[in-house]
Structure formats: C-alpha cells, structure tokens
Amino acid sequence: MLIETKNLTKRFGGLAAVNNVDFMIEKGGINAIIGPNGAGKSTFFNLISGFHRPSSGTVLFKGIDITKLRANEIAGLGISRTFQTTSLFDQSTVLDNVIVGHRLRTKSNLMDAILRTKRLKREEAACRDKAMEVLDIVGLTKSADRMVSSISQEEKKRTAIALALATEPEIIFLDEPAAGINPDETEGLTELIKKLNQSGLTVCLIEHKMHMIMNLADHIMVLNYGEKIAEGTPKEIRGNEAVIKAYLGGSASA
C-alpha cells in the first residue's frame, strides 16, 4: 500500500473539514476524490502533503508514519502535489520555473554558489536536464523559453505538473488539474495523466469534471461534509444511492 490514512480528522474550530477518513491508495493506479464543494477534498490533500497537521488520525506512506513530517520532508520522500490555483512565477520562463523543482535532489549550498564549485555546476546541469525531461513529458518543450505570463491557462497547468514531476515523485496529487480549461484541453490533460500513470507513477486527483473522472479513474472516493460516503470503481460510484443524494439531493453543485 503506497498511501494509507487511518481515522484522519481535521477540525477547524467546531467544523470537521475531514472526519474519520480511512483511505488507501495502491501503487500504480489512478485514484480520484470527488464530492460537492466544501466536502473537504482539498483539506484531505493538505493533510497528506503536510500542509495541515491532522487533529487526529495517521497518514502512512509505504507503512511509515508521515503524519508529523513537514511538507518539504514529505516531498523529499516522493510525494508531490499541485495546487488548485497554479502559483508559478509569471516574470520568468517556463524552464526557469521548473528547474528549481529538482532542487530537493541536489546538495550544493551557499558556499558552492559563492565558490562556483564543480558540484554546483554538475547539479545545475542535472536540474536543467531534469527540467527539459519533464517538460518533454508534459509536451511543453517548445514553450520552455516563453515567459509564464504569456502562456495559456492549460500550459500553466502542464507547467505546474512538470514542476511536480521534477521532484521525482512516486505519487502525484493533482488538485483540480482541469479547472478552468476547455473540453478539448481537458481531453489532452486526461491523456497526459494516463501517460504519466502508464510510466509507473501513481496518481490521485481531485476533479469536478465527472466525465473526465469516470473515464480516467480506476478507484474513486466520495467525500461529503468531510466524511467518506462511498468508495469503489466508477461503475459502483455511478450507481451509489448516497452519492446521488449528496450531489442531487442537496443544494451543492457538482
């Protein structure tokens, strides 16, 4: 089991944003977390990636407890994520944005920088190579030298994924990768996620576009008011009463 959460709970004041969630992610699959707005999906991601400390419960990565690790330490283990709103540096090129993604696998420090040591030069070359490699994977080789401010929303999403890939993760968490982009582009992004998965990367994503999820995921968890209300294959989820009720019964929109 790659990732396992046990009784994971996060309370903000009196509100339980994530309540007693047990979830398992097997190596190699494409997992999805869905649910109405405010269901606690992003909070769930934040708990796994170390941005929030859980109120109770544990997160295991390959059987090791990572609940108390900091976000950067969790990234170092091989867990990577993207954000709902991509926070790239606009006044820099796509390549420059991605190069720093490989920083965690390098060792050169301030003295290396001041003395311009061999180690620094070697590691800079490694970071650049890695950046070009991941830009190639996400299909942005041609845009490498363009300013981030001048590329499309979809390309920004791809850049953010490239940045996450540059950390050499075993599992990648994508927070609404297809939000705000058109159906054609969504199709392209779906292909990319499939491709990443086929190359051996485990994927877990939050998404509101049901059509995309049903095509893509092989395992789905549904959250509502912070609680897990269903879990299973797309087919099982589609026919699940509780899920239909959560989406159609309430005022929340999908």
Binding site: G50, R70, F89, V100, R103, L104, S108, L110, A164
Partner: protein
C-alpha cells in the same frame, strides 16, 4: 563583433571606477563616492533578503549600526587590529542576525516588516541608552583607519576609495553568483510562493535564515567600513531614517535586480548632495519621485530598463527559439 556588449560595458565601468581618483578634481567627490559604495554594500544585503527572498526587512540600519559599533568598540576599547576587528564585527552582526532571524522569520509579509522595524528601533535604543558600552549620544570617537597591509596604507582618500571599491566589487560578485545558482533559485522560489517552495521539497526556514544572516553580514560589513572611514559614529546611524534612506536607494534602483542597489544608491546620494542647497525641501523632490517610480516601475530603474530590453528582444526574435538561454534573474 559587437563592441557594445554587456561584458565590455561592465569592463569599461570597472576601469572607470578604478581610474576615478585620477579624474576627480578633489577629495570631496572621492569622499561622496566612497560613502555611497559603503551604503550600496548595505543595500545589496537588504536586496538579497527583500528583493530575492521576498522578506522586507526594516532592521538593517540596526545591523549596519551593530557592524559599525562592533568595529568601533573592538578597535577603540580593546585596541584590536583593524582587520581582526573587521572580521569580528561581521561575525558579531551575523550572530545577532541569526538570533533575531530565528524569531523574526516566524512572521510573514507585513508582520515581518513591522517586526523588523521594531527590532531596528530597539537596536537603535540600546546603542543610544547603553552609555557604559557605546558612549551613548556622545558617540564613539577615534576609530582608526583601516590598518596597513604590508606596504599599502589606507590614510589617503584615494586608498580608502580603492579599499571600499574592492569590497563592493567582491560583494556584487558574491551576490551575482548566489542569484545565478541553485541557491538563488531556491530563494526566488520562496519569494514567489512559500507554499509551492515547500511542496517541491525546499526547507523554507533553513533557506530564509541563511539569506537573512547573509544579508545582515553585508549590512554589518558596510557598517564596519563606515566606522573606519568616517572615524566617528553616533547612535543615529542605526536610526529609522537611515533605514528608509537605504530602502529608498533600493526601490529607486530596482528591488530584486542585481545592479539596482548600486544604481539607486549612486543616483540618490549624488542627487541629494547636489540638492544640498534645498536643505529639508529636498524631500519635496524625493517623495514624488519615489511615488512615481513605485507606481510605474515597481522594479525601479533597472527593472524598467530590463523590461524595455526584453520587449525589444521579444519583437526581434518572435518565433525563433534560442538553444537553452538559461537566465536566473537579469542584472
């Protein structure tokens, strides 16, 4: 072969800087330039933290004063050799910087600015009130000029100018290397988004603290050089108004750019010397100037020139892609 390349321009500037003592008609100009180089070193320190790492510190006049007083006290009260005292002053500044950074860096954005503003003021107060150590408002008199290195003495204005110039060039080289390296990229990633930086595995606290201590090192170095250049220091060098002068140099020159601190400092120090006859009314010129620059050119004069250049370049080579032109940040 192009003659007007960046490299040749840089060499010409350095030659000009080295030949300036021969061109200058009197020591006054040399004095002004030496002084602005010293301020520029401090501004480079602020820029590394505020410009590249994204943490606006308002405590650096305080660190400047710590550097100055450390050198002053070590040389005057313990009679230590100048060069040893210079190293000592930098180390003391870094040590205090480390301790303050540990606490200050737990805050962010406005809170960090306000917190460091208070720290700067406390440093000023300590220097002002601790008469037993610092002589308080009477100031510290009789600080020796830089000690001889073999046959080289630093008694004349020209030799002091060269000494400070060499320190400035070394500081610029160090900053240049840092911002072009992976370490610099790390700092800029933190400036861009601390959350994202953490997600890609960067230990933000460690890196912020390194940047903070290094920036206090430059401020302390500048302070120490100032003390031995002016030979007299009072608590006022740590005052808030000095801090805002330094900040103004940085903002006008260009925050987050390599040449910004030097451009801004030289321009404003020289301008303010030439406007001496206006006395306090000089601020009537500086105020609007600063406001306009911040509104229209948030990255100062250097940033404006760079934007203009990249726009021109963009038009020229639209559609053509160069092979791997890796740039970290412009100069």
């Amino acid at each position: 072969m192009k003659i007007l390349t960046k490299r040749n321009g840089l060499i010409a500037l350095i030659i000009l800087a080295f030949s300036f003592p021969f061109i200058a008609q009197n020591d006054y100009y040399l004095h002004i330039l030496t002084l602005s180089f010293i301020w520029a070193i401090a501004v480079y320190g602020i820029n590394l933290l505020s410009g590249y790492t994204g943490y606006l510190s308002l405590a650096h006049a305080g660190f400047f004063a710590i550097g100055a007083y450390s050198l002053g006290l070590l040389t005057v009260k313990t009679g230590m050799n100048f060069w040893l005292a210079l190293v000592g002053a930098c180390l003391i500044t870094c040590a205090i910087g480390f301790l303050i950074g540990l606490i200050a860096l737990r805050t962010k954005e406005h809170f960090f600015a306000i917190y460091t503003l208070c720290v700067g003021y406390i440093i000023y107060l300590v220097i002002d009130k601790w008469e037993g150590l610092t002589e308080g408002v009477r100031g510290l008199i009789g600080i020796p000029a830089p000690g001889n290195i073999g046959p080289i003495t630093f008694e004349t204005a020209a030799s002091q100018y060269y000494l400070v110039l060499i320190f400035l060039l070394a500081v610029i080289l160090i900053v240049y290397r840092i911002i072009r390296s992976l370490t610099g990229r790390t700092y800029m990633a933190i400036r861009n988004s601390e959350d994202l930086a953490q997600t890609i595995g960067i230990s933000t606290m460690k890196n912020k603290l390194t940047a903070f201590v290094l920036s206090t090192f430059f401020a302390g170095l500048a302070g120490a050089l100032y003390a031995s250049f002016i030979r007299f220091i009072g608590p006022d060098i740590g005052s808030t108004s000095i801090m805002f002068d330094l900040l103004m140099y940085l903002l006008v020159g260009g925050i987050g750019t390599l040449s910004g601190p030097l451009v801004g400092t030289l321009l404003l120090v020289i301008l303010s010397q030439n406007l001496q006859f206006l006395q306090e009314y000089r601020m009537l010129i500086f105020g609007p100037l600063l406001t306009l620059i911040i509104i229209f050119y948030p990255r100062g004069i250097t940033g404006a020139v760079f934007d203009w250049q990249s726009k021109r370049k963009g038009k020229k080579m639209s559609g053509v892609r160069k092979e791997f032109p890796i740039k970290a940040e412009e100069g």
